[in-house]
Symmetry: C2
Subunit: 109 residues, 2 copies
DNA sequence: AGGTTATATTGCAATATGACCATGAAGACA
DNA sequence: TGTCTTCATGGTCATATTGCAATATAACCT
């Protein structure tokens, strides 16, 4: 992020990815996929929502380019396309930690 | 992210932060704030939307704990509360790069 | 073909989001 | 006090998102 000027779609493309990660169910899915590829049926159990709802969340992640699919018989396995989510989660944790410290400071002071 | 079980609000809190970053205007604001603190009037010029719209985007960022404010006369300066956005942006860039490679592979192959 | 399982898609209702306009609150200054 | 500037908030509208139910699609089996 060092350019002087940025095209209009510069932030739009980046925001689309952040937005795809901006839902608890999708975050749960992505987190689970960090360990291994998982089929839709198992992800549906994990999330605890309707199968159609989970399928929609998965298509959001897929459109963002965050996950990919592999067909195996009647099942479809989803896997992460990206390995960098480490940095993403670390950033989120950092923000949460700072927020917690601020809350504690407000209570204590 | 190594816990076996996670509370219901675990992903909700994290998703709220990702969601706050999931809009091009807010991403533009956060990016600009990486260099220095900026008042609302200047951010309004930068984003190019109505002042009230920018003000609402700023409140979203503030509620997420991503920015903080400092009052100076009639002006309010916004500044980043977090320095970890490096990792966040790097992750996004990584995804975009992979998406680009995939598109090129589709065209070329 | 018929039946079962696994996913995706569509339709619809409820809710959330984003943009603008208009207004309100607070500081600076004559 | 009045006015100007800066920013926030309420109102309203258009659009997007989310969730479930229902249906479609595809693979596999008999």
């Amino acid at each position: 992020m060092t350019m002087k000027t940025k095209s209009p779609s510069f932030y739009e493309r980046r925001a689309a990815i952040a937005k795809a990660l901006g839902h608890p169910s999708r975050l749960m899915i992505v987190d689970a996929l960090q360990e291994k590829e998982i089929c839709v049926c198992e992800l549906t159990d994990l999330v605890g929502a309707d199968q159609s709802t989970v399928s929609r969340h998965l298509s959001v992640l897929k459109n963002a380019g965050l996950v990919d699919t592999r067909k195996e018989g009647p099942m479809i396995f989803y896997r992460l396309r990206v390995k960098c989510l480490e940095g993403f989660f670390m950033c989120i944790e950092n923000v949460l930690r700072e927020n917690l410290e601020r809350e504690e400071a407000l209570v204590g002071g």
